[in-house]
């Protein structure tokens, strides 16, 4: 099945290939963002002893679609004194930067839209694009609350980018590569969460900060700044900001999974998974389906583990949101510069030492 698809794929002109990839990624992004809102509402409801959405469709499963419909029908308000062009463009910039990160998300073995050799650098570069969109929104709204939200957001994202970068350097040092697929394959021996536990914590914390979520949700702190930089937005433009936030939740979880939790690798011990693979191969060979079916099965297997780990990560983020209060702006900055940054440097030293030990046991 996979092989036939691949042979067809190679006959397409490159431009068509890019277009198809773009459409698929955008669709995936929209779907993920929409259904994460549902997932979050259900998780929060369970934690807060409520029921959550249960009216639209069975178990409220059509709720995101209903919400989308509602947002599309809303009036698209542009404030009179706003900078209309920037104001209109900002949501797209924010959402696009989310989609760009999706390019290197390893959904499964071989299922990466573009497995760039500079994957890590690309991730850091693209994820900081969000700031531009947020500042455009805050500035163009011509509203003091929006401006304050945007200022906080920039200060926060810029400060948290540094420890995040240092934490990722640890991963790159251990893996000896910046390519996401190679980083994952390197974890066949041991998931990086074990040697890089400190780095994992730093990346998780900075990741939550990058998504602007509790306890780092100062840019849109409801009780202080009403809605931060989205105060003046309505309709689908607000929806895009909203979707971008959930998309970034997915992306952070995906990269936590990829860099620290072994990505698509199965958590089963190697002999067991090898035995299972042999068994499956034999069964398929007996049925005469080995050639056509095995690669598909392996792909789905890797996707299953990837999405399972990502879901666990996302659940953790939602859990944090339900539990923790919000930092104050100076505490937030102090935390980034005084605690996380030194710790991330320490982590880099640890990673270097571990790299030496690693090379003793597994010389390249």
């Amino acid at each position: 099945m996979i092989q036939t698809l691949q042979t067809y794929w190679k006959t397409f002109p490159p431009l068509l290939q890019y277009l198809i990839i773009f459409v698929i990624i955008s669709g995936v992004a929209g779907g993920i963002a929409a259904y994460l809102t549902y997932f979050e509402r259900k998780v929060l409801a369970a934690i807060q002893s409520r029921i959550g959405p249960n009216r639209v469709g069975r178990y409220g499963l059509l709720q995101p679609i209903a919400d989308l419909m509602k947002l599309l029908q809303k009036e698209d308000i542009v404030p009179l004194r706003a900078d209309a062009v920037l104001f209109r463009a900002a949501p797209y910039v924010v959402f696009t930067s989310g989609i760009l990160s999706l390019v290197i998300v390893p959904f499964g073995k071989g299922l990466i839209a573009g497995d760039l050799h500079i994957g890590l650098v690309y991730l850091i570069a693209v994820s900081s694009l969000t700031v531009i969109g947020i500042f455009m929104a805050g500035w163009a709204s011509n509203n003091k609350y929006s401006l304050y939200g945007a200022m906080r957001s920039i200060a926060q994202l810029v400060s948290y980018e540094l420890p995040m970068g240092f934490a990722l350097l640890g991963v790159a040092a251990l893996a000896g590569s910046l390519r996401v697929s190679e980083i994952i394959e390197k974890q066949q021996v041991i998931w990086f969460i074990v040697p890089q536990f400190l780095g994992f914590l730093i990346f998780l914390i900075t990741g939550i900060a990058e998504t602007n979520r509790t306890p780092f949700d100062l840019p849109e702190a409801e009780s202080e700044l009403v809605a931060g930089f989205t105060t003046e937005y309505s309709g689908i433009r607000f929806g895009l900001f909203f979707a971008a936030e959930y998309l970034s939740v997915f992306i952070v979880s995906a990269f936590v999974t990829a860099f620290y939790l072994g990505g698509w690798l199965s958590p089963l011990p190697l002999p067991l998974s090898q035995a299972l693979l042999n068994l499956t191969t034999q069964v398929l060979a007996n049925m005469g389906l080995e050639k056509s079916f095995l690669p598909t099965l392996l792909l789905f297997n890797s996707m299953f583990w990837f999405f399972l780990k990502v879901s666990a990560c996302i659940f953790l983020l939602f859990w944090v949101r339900a539990t923790l209060p919000r930092f104050r702006v100076d505490q937030l900055m102090g935390f980034a510069w005084k605690i996380l940054l030194p710790l991330s440097m320490l982590n880099l030293v640890i990673a270097g030492l571990e790299g030496i030990v690693w090379n003793l046991f597994y010389p390249t």
Binding site: I47, R50, K144, Y148, S223, E224, V226, F327
Partner: protein, 373 residues
Amino acid sequence: MSPLEIVREEETDQVWLNMGPQHPSTHGVFRMLLKLDGEVITECKPVIGYLHRGTEKIAENRMYFQIVPYTDRTDYLAAMGGNLGVCLAVEKLAGIEVPKRGQYLRVIAVELNRIASHLVWLGTWGLDLGVMTPFLYCFREREEILKLLEMMSGARLTYNYIQFGGVRDDLLPEFYPRCREFLQTFPSKLDEYQNLLGNNDIFQMRTRRIGILTREKAISYGTCGPVLRASGVNYDLRKNQPYSSYSDFDFEVAVATEGDCYARYRVRMKEMHESVKIVQQALDGLPEGPTNAKVPWFFKVPKGEVYSAIENARGEYGIYLVSDGTSKPYRLKIRAASFCNLCVVPELVKGMKIADCVAILGSLDPVFGDVDR
């Protein structure tokens, strides 16, 4: 160009930010004009009056029994206290003696209402600090109290339960087991909130040493209730001027000395524990007998004036009543606890951050029906 000029060039403008009256964390219709230097507040001008309904003026044109429902609407989160305040003042002037059972029922009603009011405060303050879950937990517990109060009075928010001479109805038989069950389970719920919120590091970072109100300032501003007691003043009208049989009950006055937001949090949490104790004792020692002294609907209050105050959830709820001997008051002044506590806001928020301002305002627990009256 001299160095001085460079500095002047880099000076930034201060921004006036209009916070409220429509704002998620102004607890109703409070408006603050904040002068901001970056995130720091350099000046705060509070604006009140958006919920002014002229309760005191209306009271001058109403028969005494008609005034009680209006007091429900002053401090609407602790409406029983409003009822009790006005009833005590009128009874004091008219010389009405309330039977013991009536007094105990009043205590049960007011203390349950105090817990409900503090729960709303805890939940909404949590929302101010950015944590959502305690709000829903608090409202879950408050719901049980509201059901109990509904059993007593038939209403969930504006009770009009306490009347001149006693209370409107005796308790239903179903009330006792349900109330006892609530009293049994509730303290463990409070511990749960303490673990979820009070012991949280971020919560403590946001509330400790924030908005410190010194003992002297607390007294000179005329603050009252938990705000005063959190500043180290051991003053509780239930102890200092016992009314309505409060001297029969054994309870402690919650006092803290730090005067910061966290101290106010601790005082209110302790008060909820103490209220549970009081209700428990009142239920156990509930005397038999009539709930109500015989008071006619229309009655004239002898000429004179009186001030009577009770300890409501937010502090001293005082009624100053002047009677000219007719069936309507000549003047009825309500001393609102929230108003006095709110007065300290401009002083406390100066030099703090926007986020602190929200935390401080929430810790004072103002109710704007009470502030504006």
